[in-house]
């Protein structure tokens, strides 16, 4: 099908496409920079990410709901999207029950720290990750032999099974859920209320009056007190985990394992013929993805609220996770992070629309999918392929014109 009848990219006739190609230009511009510049950009971005809940930039900040809490949710979603990106983006396995792993991580933490034990959070965290990884292997071992689309429904079932099980098993708190999950241990002196708020030092946050900022010492964040009032320390904790996972993700993607995933995704039979044990690598992707989901779930359980129940893990959440990965650009870790952030952030930001937010979210998802089928930040490989296709098409069109003229 030729695209030559459509208006050229970037004209006023198609503003959406113009925005899209401008954005591609920005990404390309970044990719062309030398390494030090890139490192600088990344460092600034990380610093900004840490400072964001304290800077509270106008427009971006949510008015009706605590911004720190929203940022925690955003980071938790980004972490999940990163994990799911390994499963969907790298290994090409459609997992519609990812919320199951999120729940396993959260419940393991809750059971160990309060319900059947009194472990400190930082001890329960690695155990939760390992348990989730094992659950990933247990689910994956029988089901990964099933072909792609069937895997989707099997995992969907898994997510439901986990939710129904915790709802009906008294040992796991039934439908009432588990409350009073302890927060992570404080770093620095503990608060002695009512006067000493504890912590090593306090960081004030900005207060914006229109577009003029001022320091707000009344709502200072204590470093590093995990209390019930301030969500910012939780955000920092999960953001740190996110950065560590990104580094790990980068290492593994560029390794032999990452190449094996890519080969398996593109053509499983060919990969198998070339001696790649595809099943082993698929299982590995599944388990790794599960572990990261469990990590995020563990943070969620011991988060500010300290409460989980079966209703915290509805099947719809799985759909949101998948949407996050695909919207961001399946196969690109930055895309996944951006997608996770968007999917978590938009409904919170538009809470003012209250009843309409899910409707708007649904429409936005459809519009995004139709507008940019390859996601906001497609992996470089996909973009190169698209570029090459466009070039070939341009060449063919050129030839056609020549022959008609000549």
């Amino acid at each position: 099908m030729s695209t030559s009848t459509q208006p050229p990219v970037g004209t006023w006739r198609n503003p959406l496409r113009a925005v899209g190609s401008w954005w591609d230009g920005v990404v390309d511009g970044y990719a062309r920079q030398p390494l030090p510049v890139k490192a600088l950009v990344v460092a600034v971005a990380i610093a900004l990410a840490y400072a964001l809940p304290l800077l509270r930039p106008p427009i971006l900040t949510t008015n009706s709901i605590d911004f720190g809490g929203v940022m925690f949710r955003v980071a938790a979603f980004a972490l999940i999207a990163l994990g799911l990106n390994i499963v969907i983006g790298y290994a090409g396995l459609l997992d519609l029950g990812y919320v199951g792993f999120y729940a396993v991580g959260a419940y393991t933490t809750a059971v160990l720290t309060v319900y059947h034990g009194s472990w400190p959070f930082f001890l329960a965290l690695p155990v939760a990750v390992v348990v989730t990884m094992i659950s990933g292997v247990l689910l994956g071992a029988p089901t990964l032999r099933v072909r792609g689309d069937y895997l989707a429904i099997v995992t969907l079932g898994f997510g439901e099974i986990i939710r129904i099980t915790v709802k009906n098993v008294g040992w796991l708190g039934s439908s009432a859920g588990i409350k009073d999950i302890p927060h992570p241990n404080n770093i620095g002196p503990d608060p002695v209320l009512p006067y000493d708020k504890g912590g090593l030092f306090a960081i004030p946050r900005l207060e914006w009056n229109g577009f003029t900022p001022s320091l707000d010492h009344d709502h200072a964040t204590r470093f590093l007190i995990f209390g019930a009032l301030d969500a910012v320390p939780y955000y920092w904790l999960i953001l740190t985990a996110l950065i560590l996972v990104v580094i790990g993700d980068r290492l593994i993607k560029n390794s032999r394992v990452g190449r094996a995933w890519e080969a398996t995704r593109e053509d499983e039979d060919a990969a198998e013929l070339m001696g790649v044990p595809t099943f082993k690598y698929k299982l590995m992707a599944f388990a790794l993805g599960a572990a990261i989901g469990g990590l995020s779930g563990s943070f969620y359980a011991s988060g500010q609220g300290g409460y989980i129940s079966p209703d915290s893990f509805p099947l719809l959440l799985s759909m949101l996770f998948v949407a996050a990965v695909i919207v961001g650009g399946s196969g690109n870790r930055w895309g996944a992070i951006a997608g996770g952030a968007i999917v978590a952030y938009l409904p919170e930001r538009f809470r003012d629309f209250a009843d309409y937010r899910l409707l708007v979210f649904g429409l936005a998802l459809t519009v995004l999918a139709v507008w940019r089928p390859e996601g906001l930040l497609p992996p470089r490989r996909a973009r190169r392929a698209k570029q090459a296709e466009a070039e070939i098409e341009a060449l063919e069109d050129g030839e056609l014109e020549e022959t008609t003229h000549g």
Binding site: V154, M319, V327, V370
Partner: protein, 338 residues
Amino acid sequence: MHLDALFGSFDNFLSYTTGGLVFGAIYALVALGYTMVYGVLQLINFAHSEVFMFGTFGMAWTFYFLHGSEPVTWSLGRAAPMLLASLVVAMAVSAGIALLLERVAYRPLINKNAPKLIALISAIGASFALAEAMGLRDRFASWVGLDDDLANYVSPEKARDVYSNPVTIQPHNLFDVGGYSITDVDLVVVLAAILMMVALDQFVRRTRFGRGIRATAQDPESAALMGVNSTRVVQMTFLIGGLMAGVAATLYMMKIGSTRQNAGFILGVKAFTAAVMGGIGNLRGALLGGLILGVMENWGSAVFGPNWKDVTAFVLLVLILLVRPSGLLGEALGKARA
């Protein structure tokens, strides 16, 4: 475990089985929508559950329109004329939504030759939007200032709550199988479902359109070269799925009597499970999968308790896929012979 509950007496066993068959028939009809779209496009039409949900509302709206809001209890015979009218409306509403879905959420992506996964996302988005639009129908009505006139249809104070048919259809026992009385409603549900399935099966096998659908399912490119209008075939597929969902919606409302804006979701998941179980893309598989799923989950709820009904359904699915990775009857919309 309460094996006694199920196997203690043959009567119990029969009654759970027949009860399951009734729901299985409804699952099967909804499963057709998934299976048809998957057979032709290899896409999971996630928003099909919303097509069904709109059908249930179409059915209830017809009763409000023809009868009014006064709650009454009628026998099946007394309600039959209105049921037929509501069947037509529900089929029209569902088919309309299905066609809208195809036009807005699928066709642009198919034209762009987009990856399969993105169509799933587009469908998930459309599913959210449709369910929410139904839940917010009171707001839309008040925007255009019709909330008073349409009060019965939008039910202002509870647009998100359960929406009941004003006419309760009182089932009458026809005969007993085991301890379970087969009612006229049950019989109509199962017979109507099977009738629709047979009609569709014959349509796909014998008509010109059916041949086009099968050709496209087998090899879209060759079919297009042979003069099959693939856009029309895709449209037709969605239309058929929508019509079947409309029938399922009417039968569901006959049996249950009420619906709500998120009624489609779980039923959709079950129906999709049924489609996969029977072999997705396979029409007869959808019927078989639906009936088996309905029966098995009823057995499961007898043995393990009603809370574990859904778990039984999914565990069963996993087990079947492990033994037969492409479903009970295999996946073959394209391979069906004329």
